[in-house]
């Protein structure tokens, strides 16, 4: 039995962790170190991005906050509101990773304030990709509207009969992961595609996880799932894993939600997956990505109208029309065809 009482060292003391690398560093021993690196009373330097009152440029205001045992970012914010800046605006309700409303960016990374250990030097900023109301409070409307538009609820093909209905955890494996979502918006803020604004119609990781709760549920009718998926712009996701890296609920967002949803989309609404099918077909046949063939396949003859871009790509060696037109294969073509399946080759 180990009694963890105040002041007990919990493990070796390690150097400060770079906030940007937390996703890679959160192993057991590192966490213990992060939670015991500071001693009660030690001063943290906390810089908080604040909205100017009445209006003007945002400012970073610095505070010195005494460390308390196992202090979370939220404790530091509460200390500031109680002792130094009563007018600091930040949202939270539960303080225990359930309501998902206290997410902020700490040293450039999205964290849940109630869940993340403090750092000796912290810069706290509001989430990205949502309008700031004041200080650290963001307007969630954009996300809420998107989720509502996806109608993430179940429509049964067969009428419900009795409790409990036949269902196994295996069938619910991916949906069950999505059900851990507390819609904290960490992933939404971290997503580079959402960061592109209106350039794409991508719904974003958080709405997709919400949709995954019912779209990956075997009880839902495929017709209903298809209608929802058509509104997601899901193939704009570049699978960069930023969402997964910051998720405080440890949901494998890309591998267990977005990828299965993409597969479901390819099945139920294949026209949305044209780009994906084309890429897969080209790789399966030629053993390599052929950007020229890909553009031709997806955009058709329209692509030829963009002469300037074609020239630029030619000069940079990005496309090779001769190889494309002759359909030259690489030595990997055989293996690629085998791995991706003959079906893909036909596409």
């Amino acid at each position: 039995m180990t009694l963890a009482s105040p002041g007990d060292p919990l493990g070796p003391v390690s150097p400060p962790v770079d906030g940007r690398r937390l996703g890679q560093a959160e192993q057991h021993d590192t966490l213990a170190a992060r939670n015991s690196r500071l001693t009660p009373g030690e001063l943290l330097t906390v810089k908080v991005r604040r909205s100017a009152v009445p209006e003007g440029e945002d400012v970073y205001q610095a505070f010195h906050v005494p460390y308390q045992k196992w202090m979370r970012v939220l404790d530091a914010l509460n200390w500031i509101a109680e002792n130094a800046a009563a007018d600091l605006a930040f949202r939270w309700f539960c303080g225990s990773k359930m309501c998902g409303t206290c997410a902020v960016r700490m040293n450039g990374r999205e964290v849940l304030a109630c869940w993340e250990a403090v750092e000796p030097n912290m810069v706290i900023e509001p989430l990205r990709n949502l309008p700031v109301v004041r200080d650290l409070v963001v307007d969630r409307t954009r996300y809420e509207d998107k989720v509502a538009s996806l109608e993430p609820w179940i429509e049964r093909r067969e009428p419900y009969t009795e409790f409990p209905e036949p269902l196994t955890h295996k069938q619910m494996k991916d949906a069950s992961k999505a059900l851990d979502c507390i819609s904290c918006m960490c992933c939404y803020s971290a997503c580079p595609v959402i960061g592109l604004g209106d350039l794409t119609d991508f719904a974003g990781p958080a709405p997709l996880v919400q949709l995954g709760q019912t779209a990956l549920d075997p009880r839902n009718s495929p017709e209903k799932v298809r209608r929802s998926l058509e509104l997601t712009g899901i193939f704009n996701c570049v699978s960069c894993y930023k969402c997964e890296e910051v998720c405080p609920a440890s949901i494998p967002i890309v591998s267990r939600i977005i990828e299965p949803l993409k597969a479901r989309t390819a099945q139920l609404a294949p026209e949305m997956a044209r780009h994906s099918f084309a890429l897969r077909g080209i790789v399966a046949r030629r053993g390599r990505v052929d950007p020229g063939a890909l553009v031709l396949r997806v955009q058709g003859l329209r692509a030829l109208g963009k002469l300037q871009r074609i020239l630029r790509l030619l000069v940079r060696g990005k496309i090779n029309p001769i190889r494309t037109l002759l359909g030259i294969k690489t030595s990997a073509a055989e293996a690629a065809g085998r791995l991706l399946g003959r079906e893909a080759e036909k596409q």
Binding site: S5, G95, R156, P164, S176, I182
Partner: protein
């Protein structure tokens, strides 16, 4: 300022409020949800760890079914409950609640073979997806049902006063959206208070940030009768550190798929509580735990604010973590799991008492005003009970508003409330910030109206609160802006909290016995001869007065007259 007209204003977006709104909407009655947090994302419902199996559902034996009822009446409510209501509720949970939730898509955790996973033992339970986190998918589902039904909601909006018709009945709500700073007067034919069980009235409380006893304060000001306001439940093993984790519980309940449960150790490392061994009938063993802790504190082996430990070092990790979230707290601190025990402390949890209601309709003593769920004084918390109230109140309201009533906008009341709130926002005295006054109040409650109470401490708390009242007019708000002004919200909150704290203390002085989690050092005995009764609190011309109302005992009775409370199991 805008005026909105609806059939029914529902204040609160938790289990009771959402279900009431859904049921009203199904009947063609238009509800409007006014939620101080976000619907389904704040308040106590979010914390539902698992769902107790009622009646004969899911292979429950006759004995299991009876145990569940006995547990609810004894351990959860210490007999201060309408047993007939409890019976109706149990039947409804068995027949309607589970099937309806599952039909809507709630995932009751299965194993790979398709069996619903339960906790074994005398009382069984299930989880929505994961034990310890059931409230999250449960309330998320409600949020989506509300959206699907097209029910209007005003979120991050605080109800600041009830609007009254000339005949004294309640005819609406005045509220403030504290994110935009906009006032709205909601004119309605009925108002349902569903503001929940737990309020943050003590330094350590499980209530979420926005819970400041608004429902009780609004009802009291409207003249509604309250009861059992002294009956306060406690969590005995919430994390002692950090402060924001004061509602992070090391769950003592039976676990899904395991015969074991968490244990508690005193400062000397001696085990003093292990639910599955100490009292298997105490499914949510919070009162049993509390009594065990009181003995440790009196022996100098623990403090109410720490110095004792809880954890799962008697289990293996897989046993705990296959179906529960219980490991997350330890893992997030980097503590070896399950080998480490975490320092824990007491937090005030559910208020058992609240607004006096007719349990067949959820009417309060004021026409037009209803209460459902935790804010009612008729029962103590389980998410199923709160949900059932949502159904009952919808039926009650539907029957009453069939009679047409002209909705008039009480202009004078609206103007007065605008002035009061404007004045609070521009508080520019030399005194403390409203948030500071809130903390001072919570400290007084923690120190003088905490787990163990006595008349002299309680009276001294009243004196302290009276002094604190003098601070209210001189509070200082730094930023007089309207948008996301949490100082302003604190100023509104503290006005409610201070009134309710006084009522809690007066009620505590009135109940001259100890009962379950209500522990009086000066009256250590549970006194069924004189106090197996509701401690009814009524507003009178010169303040307040108390009445007693005995309970019927059709199903279970205590079976003794007087006994040292610490020797009573429940």
């Amino acid at each position: 300022m805008r005026v909105v007209t609806t059939d029914v204003a529902v204040i609160g977006g938790g289990a009771a409020g959402c279900y009431a709104a859904l049921n009203l909407s199904k009947r063609g009655i238009k509800p409007l949800i006014i939620c101080k947090g976000l619907v389904g994302k704040s308040g106590a419902s979010l914390f539902a760890g698992n769902l107790v199996i009622s009646g004969r559902a899911l292979g429950n034996s006759e004995e299991n079914a009876s145990n569940t009822a006995e547990f609810l009446i004894k351990y959860h409510n210490q007999f201060l409950i309408d047993q007939n209501w409890a019976q109706r509720c149990g039947k409804w949970i068995e027949k309607v609640y589970y099937p309806e939730l599952e039909e809507a898509g709630l995932y009751f955790r299965r194993d790979d073979a398709g069996e619903v996973v339960t906790s074994p033992g005398k009382i069984r339970s299930v989880a929505a997806n994961v034990q310890g986190n059931s409230g999250v998918p449960f309330m998320d589902l409600r949020r989506k049902q509300i959206i699907k039904a097209g029910i209007a909601r005003m979120e991050e909006t605080v109800a600041t006063s009830l609007l009254r018709n000339p005949d004294g009945s309640v005819g609406g709500v005045f509220c403030l959206n504290y994110i935009t700073g906009e006032y709205t007067a909601v004119v309605a034919r009925a108002v349902i208070l569903a503001t929940g069980y737990s309020d943050r009235l003590h330094t350590r409380s499980t209530g979420t940030r926005e819970m400041s006893a608004d429902g009780i304060a609004l009802a009291w000001r409207a003249g509604a009768t309250l009861l059992n306001m002294e009956m306060q439940w406690w969590h005995t093993n919430d994390m002692a550190h950090p402060p924001s984790w004061q509602r992070m519980q090391i769950y003592p309940n039976p676990m899904l798929g395991s015969e074991k449960s968490a244990r508690m150790l005193n400062a000397a490392g001696e085990e003093f509580f292990n639910q599955q061994q100490d009292d298997p009938l105490a499914f949510g063993p919070y009162t049993v735990q509390l009594k065990a802790l009181v003995k440790q504190v009196r022996a100098g082996k623990a403090r109410y604010d720490g110095g004792y430990y809880a954890g799962f070092d008697n289990c293996n990790a897989a046993e705990v973590e296959t179906y529960t979230t219980y490991g997350k707290t330890f893992r997030q601190l980097g503590l070896p799991f399950p080998a480490s025990m975490a320092e824990t402390a007491v937090s005030s949890h559910y208020r058992q008492g609240g607004i006096d209601v007719d349990t067949t309709t959820m009417r309060s003593s004021i026409p037009g005003l209803y209460a459902a769920g935790g804010v009612g004084g008729h029962s103590n918390g389980l998410i199923g009970l709160a949900t059932y109230d949502g159904q009952v109140v919808a039926e009650g309201v539907a029957a009453d508003i069939a009679m047409p009533k002209a909705a008039a906008v009480p202009q004078d009341q609206i103007e007065a409330e605008c002035r009061r709130l404007d004045r609070l926002r521009s508080s520019s005295g030399e005194g403390p910030a409203p948030g500071r006054v809130k903390e001072d109040l919570r400290r007084i409650m923690w120190e003088k109206a905490g787990v163990e109470k006595n008349a002299s401490d309680l009276r001294s708390a009243l004196d302290d609160i009276e002094r604190l009242r003098l601070d209210l007019p001189g509070m200082k708000i730094r930023n007089a802006g309207k948008s996301a002004n949490y100082e302003w919200l604190d100023a509104i909150d503290v006005t409610n909290m201070i009134d309710v704290c006084e009522l809690v203390i007066h009620s505590s002085l009135e109940r001259k016995e100890s009962r379950g989690p209500f522990i009086r050092q000066d009256f250590p005995f549970t006194d069924n001869d004189n106090w197996l009764a509701a401690n009814v609190l009524k507003k009178s011309d010169n303040g307040l007065r108390f009445e007693q109302r005995p309970y019927d005992l059709p199903l279970f009775a205590p079976g003794f007259s007087r006994k040292d409370n610490l020797e009573v199991a429940w």
